[in-house]
Amino acid sequence: MSNKPILVVGGGPAGLAAAHSLAAVGQKTVLVEKEDRLGGAPILSGYAKLVPSGEWAKDAIGSMVTRVEKHKLITVKTGVSVSECKGKAGDFKVKFSEGKGASFSSVVMCTGFTHFDSINKPEWGFGTYEDVVTTTQVEQMISSGQGVRRPSNGDKPKRVAILLCVGSRDRQIGREWCSKICCTVSANLAMEIREELPDCHVYIYYMDIRTFGLLETKYYWKSQEEYKVKYIKARIAEVTSDGDKIIVKGEDTLVKRPITIPFDLVVHAIGMDPNIDNMLLSSIFDVDLETHGFIDRKDAYGELGATSRPGIYVAGSATGPETIDDSIAQGTAAAMSALVSSNSKIAAE
């Protein structure tokens, strides 16, 4: 093993997996996290039950956090970010925001994503009407134990609309990518709502349903067949209010008719933006961004997780919209690449 430690940047699912994998094979590792605690989006944003395991985020990701915090070979620095990364593969000179510096043989960037801010889609009423919320807020309503309620008056909603592709697949706001997980997350939330409030009808407004792979039956089919969630093919044009109900306007494309339907609660299925700090991260670590603004992956088939700069690797939703499971897998894969890069003996063979 290289006697220099490896640096993992970001303490979300990918970073936790990378740090744990490195430590598990005897590699000294430093994990820096700019927030005051580990766990990344699932913990910081208070997700409820994760897809597809159905486990509570605080249990599933919480156990990953504990595993990392307890490991002797991992030094965890929270509330710390990287301000400089000079040098080259095998000997990176890194400075931290707290002022200290250290030398690392390689770096794994697990810098994650930023939730789309619905305020950038003003025609859909977020920020104007209290009863227009995001999927993250509904996750929080469930994980906090409060239950799904109308923020305006605390009532149980009788009818909920979930709008898909908020901040995704939308050239008007410069976000042309599919955020990959929102369809499944929305189907999951729809079932959670129906479970908690059986009298509440849930409608999902979609352009396409992308519950890819095995998520098809577990979420899309199940939500329709067992939970009677209704899917309507319409991209909503406008969200307004009559003072009480939230009025959703659009076109029901299957019957070619305009719709103006009242709802108690409207939920934006918000997408995944590139980390809001990606321009800064790109300049600090000297790595290229791809066209959408995520960190570019150099090599899909050879050196997993490679970026444009040798010795610096990337994993998880820093590279584009990603599931938690895949982020964990990528974290582990990038750890392997970093390990190989750090150890000239292994690399030479």
Partner: protein
């Protein structure tokens, strides 16, 4: 204002007042023409639940609108207005008035079940068509169809006697569906039978038509079946909000 592309609008959605004065301005006749809105303003969740409560309609909520049923449909090939996919959607979203526009063609389903085999989600569209036709009759939107009248007579005889008797079923069916008892095809058939059937079969047929024999010790079974049918019918009517409690 005159509407130039009138053919694009359903006639019943064009409204004109012969005598109308608004704020002192006379807008009688075509000056007051306006078009009724097509906007869907609400979902009626009860409609899907009503159809789902009838035999055949149970799986309607599975539909994801792929159109395989309509594409496979025997009747649709002949009549493009016959569109099971569309009706399933209207029912699921509760667009009752739209559904009623097609009330006189929904019964045309020939139960070939091609849709049933095409459907990737096991909605059983043929069952939904049956349930929908049933719903239309129960709600009084359509007259009982000939097939319903036939089924009723058939069931009545089976329940009453434990047997069916062809001649009686035919006679009562024609009578109940207000068709003449003497039909050309029937005369032909009877003449052929008289000509070709051995005497003992003919005698048996005639005897059975006259005396309507019953299955032995049938009464108990009959009572049980009648009770069951009454329960089922009551449940269906309750699901449709008919017979409100008085």
């Amino acid at each position: 204002m005159a509407i130039h592309e009138k053919h694009l609008i359903r006639p019943e959605n064009i409204r004109t007042h012969d005598n109308l004065v608004i704020d002192g301005v006379d807008v009688s006749g075509h000056w007051s023409t306006f078009i009724e809105t097509r906007v869907v303003t609400d979902y009626n969740e009860a409609l899907e639940e009503e159809i789902a409560a009838l035999p055949g309609g149970e799986y309607i909520h599975r539909c994801w609108q792929c159109g395989s049923c309509t594409n496979a449909c025997t009747v649709n090939a002949v009549n493009p207005d016959f569109n099971p996919r569309y009706w399933i959607y209207l029912i699921r979203m509760g667009m009752e008035s739209e559904l009623l526009r097609d009330k006189d063609i929904i019964w045309q389903c020939v139960s070939c079940n091609k849709c049933t085999y095409a459907c990737p989600r096991d909605v059983v569209p043929e069952g939904v068509m049956k349930a929908t036709a049933h719903w239309l009759e129960m709600k009084g939107h359509t007259e009982p169809s000939n097939s319903t009248i036939f089924d009723e007579e058939f069931t009545r005889q089976v329940v009453k006697t434990g047997k069916i008797e062809d001649g009686r079923i035919l006679m009562n069916f024609l009578k109940n569906s207000k068709q003449p008892l003497v039909q050309d095809w029937l005369v032909q058939m009877v003449m052929q039978m008289v000509k070709h059937l051995p005497f003992k079969y003919l005698f048996g047929l005639g005897w059975a038509t006259l005396f309507a024999p019953k299955t032995k010790r049938w009464a108990k079974t009959r009572d049980a079946i009648e009770e069951h049918i009454a329960e089922e019918k009551a449940a269906e009517r309750a699901a449709l909000g008919l017979d409100p409690k008085t």
